[in-house]
C-alpha cells in the first residue's frame, strides 16, 4: 500500500507530508535544547564569582570537531542535491563522506575529548585551608588584581588509590601549569592551546579538601552542564549517523530505483534535523 503525499503536495497544506512533520519535530527539538541552553545561562550568570571554571576545555580539538560536523552538514546537502539531480554515484560518495564525518566526530568526542576530562583531577580546598596552599593558588596576587580567588587545585592524579582507600591521607597531584606559577599574569586568562599537567607534584591532605573527583558530571555544575548538553547532542549525532547509514546502504537506497524523488525527500527530512545538530 502506497502512502500518499510523500512526494506530491497535499492540497490543504501545499507541502508533502513529511516536510510539515519534520518542521514540527524540529520546533520541539529547538525547545529542548533551548531549555538546556537557558539552564546553562542561568547557572553561569548566577554562579559565585570566580568559581565557574575556565580553561578546562581543549579549544583546538573542539574547534576541529565543530569544523568536521559543519563539513558533514555541507556534504549531506550536496548528497541531497545529487539525488535531486539524479546523480546516484555522487549521492553515494557524499553520503559516505557525511557518515564518515559523523563517525569521526563521535570518535574524537568519545575517545579523546571526554576521556581527557575523565583523567583530569580536581580538588576543592576548604576555605579554612586556603592559606596553606597559597603557593599553588596565588590568591594574594589575584585579590590585588581585583580577580576572584582560586579554590580548586587541578592536575593529574598520580595515586588513584587515594580516591577509594580511606587509609591514604593525601592526594599526589601532577599540577596543571597554572598552579606551578600562580602569580604570573599570563596565567590569569585561559590559553588557546592545551597545556598538559606538569611533573611538579603537590601533596594535598584529604582533610583540607572539601570535595575531590575526576572531571566527571558530579564534579561541578560546569561539568554537569557540559556533559549533559554534549552528551545529548552526541546521542542525536549518533542517531543521525544510523539513519544516514540506512539511506546509504542498499536497503535504504534501493528506493532510488522505484521512486528517486521519495528518497530525495527522505534524505531531505533527515538532513533538516541533523544539519541543526
Amino acid at each position: 500500500m502506497e502512502i500518499p503525499y510523500t512526494v506530491t503536495a497535499r492540497p490543504d497544506t501545499g507541502l508533502w507530508n513529511a516536510k510539515v512533520g519534520i518542521w514540527l519535530f524540529l520546533a520541539s527539538e529547538v525547545m529542548l535544547f533551548g531549555g538546556l541552553f537557558s539552564a546553562y545561562i542561568f547557572l553561569r550568570l548566577d554562579a559565585e564569582p570566580g568559581v565557574w571554571p575556565h580553561g578546562l576545555l581543549n579549544v583546538p580539538v573542539g574547534t576541529m570537531n565543530t569544523a568536521i560536523l559543519i563539513a558533514s552538514s555541507v556534504t549531506v546537502v550536496l548528497a541531497w542535491a545529487s539525488l535531486k539531480m539524479r546523480r546516484f554515484n555522487a549521492y553515494w560518495w557524499y553520503m559516505l563522506a557525511t557518515i564518515s564525518c559523523g563517525v569521526i566526530f563521535l570518535f574524537v568526542k568519545l575517545y579523546f575529548e571526554w576521556p581527557q576530562k575523565f583523567d583530569h583531577f580536581g580538588a576543592y580546598i576548604k576555605p579554612s585551608a586556603l592559606e596553606k596552599y597559597e603557593p599553588y593558588l596565588g590568591n594574594k596576587h589575584l585579590l590585588s588584581e581585583g580577580l576572584a580567588p582560586r579554590v580548586e587545585i587541578t592536575g593529574h592524579l598520580h595515586n588513584h588509590e587515594a580516591l577509594h582507600d580511606p587509609n591514604i591521607k593525601e592526594y599526589e597531584i601532577g599540577l596543571d601549569p597554572i598552579y606551578t606559577d600562580p602569580t604570573n599574569p599570563k596565567m590569569d586568562r585561559p590559553h588557546f592551546l592545551y597545556v598538559p599537567p606538569t611533573d611538579k607534584i603537590a601533596k594535598i591532605d584529604k582533610a583540607d579538601v572539601e570535595r575531590a573527583t575526576m572531571f566527571v558530571p558530579s564534579h561541578s555544575t560546569y561539568f554537569a552542564t557540559y556533559f549533559t548538553i554534549t552528551g545529548l547532542h552526541g546521542l542525536h549525532v549518533l542517531g543521525g549517523v544510523i539513519v544516514f547509514i540506512y539511506f546509504w546502504l542498499p536497503v535504504g537506497s534501493k528506493l532510488y530505483r522505484q521512486n528517486p524523488e521519495h528518497l530525495a525527500n527522505r534524505v531531505e527530512v533527515a538532513r533538516v534535523v541533523l544539519a541543526l545538530c
Partner: protein
Amino acid sequence: MLISFGSSFSHSFTCSKAMNNPPSTEPIEQETEHYAPQSHDVSKHVRGYLMVGATLLIFTALTVFLSYVNFGTQKANIAVAMVVATFKAGLVAYIFMHLSAEKKLIYRILIFTAIFVLGLFWLTYLACNAIRSFTNVA
C-alpha cells in the same frame, strides 16, 4: 437553524444520497508520483551551499576568537556568544534546510518556537540577581 440543518442534512444524505448512490467499492487511487527532476534547478544552488559552508567555518573561528575577548560584563559575553550561535543556526536553517523556499505554514509553526526560545533566554537574564562580584555581572 442548526436543528434544521442537521435534520435536513441527515434526511437528504441518508435517504437520497446513500440510498440512490451506493458507495463505490473501488480502491482509492493514490496520487501519481512524479519521477522527473524538480523544476527548480538544484545545480545552481550547489555553489551557494559551499559558500555557506565556508561562512559557517569562518563564524566558528570567530566564535573561538570572541571567547577570548571580554566584553565587560558576563551577561554581555554570553549574549555575544549566543548571537553568533543564533546567526549560524539561522544560516543553516535558511539555506541548508531550505527554509527560504518554504511556504508560510512552516514559518507560522516556527515563529512561536522562536518567540518562546528567545523569551526563555531573556527570562534567564531577568532572573540573574545582581550580586557584588569581582567580575562585573550586571
